[in-house]
Amino acid sequence: MASIGTVFEAEGLVDHEFPMVPDGGNRRYRIRWGRGLILLLAGAYFLIPIYAALKFSLQNIDGKFSLSPITAIPSQPGLGAAFFLSVRLAIVTMVITMLLMVPTVIYVHLKMPRFRRVMEVVTILPIVIPPIVLILGVLHAAPLWLKSSPYLLSLVYVILAMPFVYRSLDSGLGALDVKTLVEASRSLGAGWIATIWRVLVPNLRAAILSATVLTVALVLGEFTMASLDLWETLPVWIVDFDQTNAHISTAVAMLSLIGTWVLLTLIISLDRPRSGKLRRNRTS
């Protein structure tokens, strides 16, 4: 009987894509090329504008480069206040989000599995209701004492972050056998808070870190609501200051972009002990 190989050849199913040279296990030259190209193009698209903005910021009218826009940053009026306001908002938003979402999602996973459907729908809503529309309603409906505090923004940011936070926590919990962990912990005498804090949260590290990262990035980059709510967070300051000195404000914008990026990378790196888990163990 003809071997299957000949059938392949006859039908033109022979795969000539890969150079058949043994090269230590990875025959996929072409794929590496393609991947490299994609990454290169993407890198170019995302980095060139940053370069262009920095170039603008550091270049005088007469074409000379100087670092003075950057060195002048600390002394700019309002920047410090705006920066710390953004940081405070980020922290408050993060805290509220975690306190609200973590116990809720854990409880739903444990005791109300059918409610997950409801939660999925609910956490899609902040996307269905655009931020610009939401702030419209919030500004109208919020009581004055709330509107006079910047933390109203934090409260709304919690809603904005909800879709991402929920998805992150939900999938993190889905990967654990929550019921067993909780029962084990409780049988050893731990109360609910101890169980959540000492057993579940450490196992949800990756999910919580990822949710934190997204929340912080959201708050530090959010402009629309803050400006319409008339609070000078960092993004709002940057735009306002643009009128005064575009070089400096652009420099601040780029630095805050890069700075947030570094900060978030550090936060993600806190999960290092598990970073190899997605790679398969091939040594057996």
Binding site: I4, P22, G24
Partner: protein, 367 residues
């Protein structure tokens, strides 16, 4: 869960006349970074033979299988199927059916489409595919589950579909990568028999990777015990068990106890007897050695002035395994459960060797 209709199996067997090919793995070396997964591994497999690769994790058994399948390229060495070198042939064209450890069924296809996938790739007509897939599902006892999706099937059922899928393409070699490890004990035992029976009927050359020695010993024609990327011993199950050639095999397969012995002129002194050294006595140099004893190689007799004391007892059914403390060593001895009453804890016993020769190895340093 009967396997098949006799007819279907016969038909499959005759159709798979390309089954029963010889496989040779020759001096395979494979590094992963600084780890050597395969260190000059060689194995000859006869046509239609069922060979188990047995060993602890990290021994290289899965790597060897993957090299055979074409998912890994060896750094050096050859893979020969039916005498010709397939090292340069990509996995797609090696014509080997593989069953993975778990969750390898395509989730977006039902059982029938999964099984028919290989045939679909070979441009078989839809009606022919469906018939064949249905036959194979019958063969593995899942005829009524053809329209179910993987997430609707139990672990055992999924693996049976995976087996049917691998067989559908009428491969020359069947490869199984710890297919039963993720299943629970009862299902595992059933599937074990079914896979073996199917393999024998189809006479297809099969390589089966496992870390479970019971599986290997009960299913295989020959077992290759691997350690650190090499083959420690390749033999039939009974030979492997009764005559382990190295300490590693003796301790990995079956139960063995270690006891210090000193080498004399004719052999080693043990329990007041002199026992010959198994295998090549000349190659064993030093005077201080450890002997490795199977529980059934030793006999215990109650003696008020005996040198051994019963420390432990485990009831195993027909036999009871007692552990005897003897001069610092803990020696496991099997006795008939009917006689077990004589061997209460604390009883003094004498030990004697039943076998003529013993396996010895370097003395392990005290911990």
């Amino acid at each position: 869960m009967t396997i098949d209709t006799h007819e279907t199996a016969e038909r499959t067997a005759t159709a798979t006349s390309s089954a029963g090919v010889s496989v040779v793995l020759d001096s395979l070396v494979r590094h992963f970074g600084s780890t050597k997964a395969l260190d000059g591994f060689s194995l000859d497999i006869a046509p239609g033979e069922f060979v188990a690769l047995l060993g602890p994790s990290g021994c290289g058994k899965t790597t060897a299988l993957r090299v055979l399948a074409g998912f890994e390229q060896p750094d050096s060495g050859q893979v020969l199927v039916k005498g010709s070198d397939v090292s340069k042939v990509p996995a797609q064209r090696r014509d080997m059916g593989m069953v993975f450890q778990s969750y390898s069924l395509f989730p977006n296809m039902d059982a029938r489409d999964n099984v028919a996938f290989g045939l679909q790739l070979r441009r078989q007509r839809s009606s022919a595919r469906r018939t064949r897939a249905a036959e194979l599902l019958e063969l593995v006892g899942l005829g009524e589950h053809a329209s179910k999706y993987p997430h609707q099937l139990s672990g055992g059922q999924q693996q049976r579909v995976a087996l049917a899928r691998a067989l559908a393409i009428e491969p020359q070699v069947l490869l199984l990568d710890e297919p039963l490890s993720a299943l629970d004990a009862k299902v595992r035992a059933e599937l074990r028999d079914q896979i073996r029976a199917l393999q024998q009927r189809l006479a297809i050359t099969t390589v089966f990777v496992t870390h479970d020695q019971e599986e290997a010993l009960s299913m295989a024609d020959r077992v290759c015990v691997m350690n650190r990327g090499c083959a420690e011993q390749v033999a039939t199950p009974s030979v492997l068990y009764a005559q382990p050639s190295t300490a590693f095999v003796a301790e990995f397969v079956g139960v063995s106890s270690r006891v210090n012995v000193v080498r004399g002129v004719d052999g080693v002194g043990l329990f007041g007897q002199t026992a010959k050294i198994r295998g090549d006595a000349a190659s064993i140099a030093s005077g201080e050695l450890d002997a490795l004893l199977r529980p059934e190689d030793v006999v215990a007799t109650v003696a008020p002035d005996g040198l051994g004391i019963v420390n432990h007892r485990s009831f195993l059914g027909a036999t009871t395994r007692i552990e005897v403390g003897f001069g610092g060593a803990a020696i496991k001895v099997d006795v008939r459960s009917g006689d077990a009453d004589h061997f209460e804890l604390g009883t003094r016993v004498d030990l004697a060797l039943l076998a003529r020769d013993v396996l010895v190895t370097e003395r392990r340093p005290e911990q």
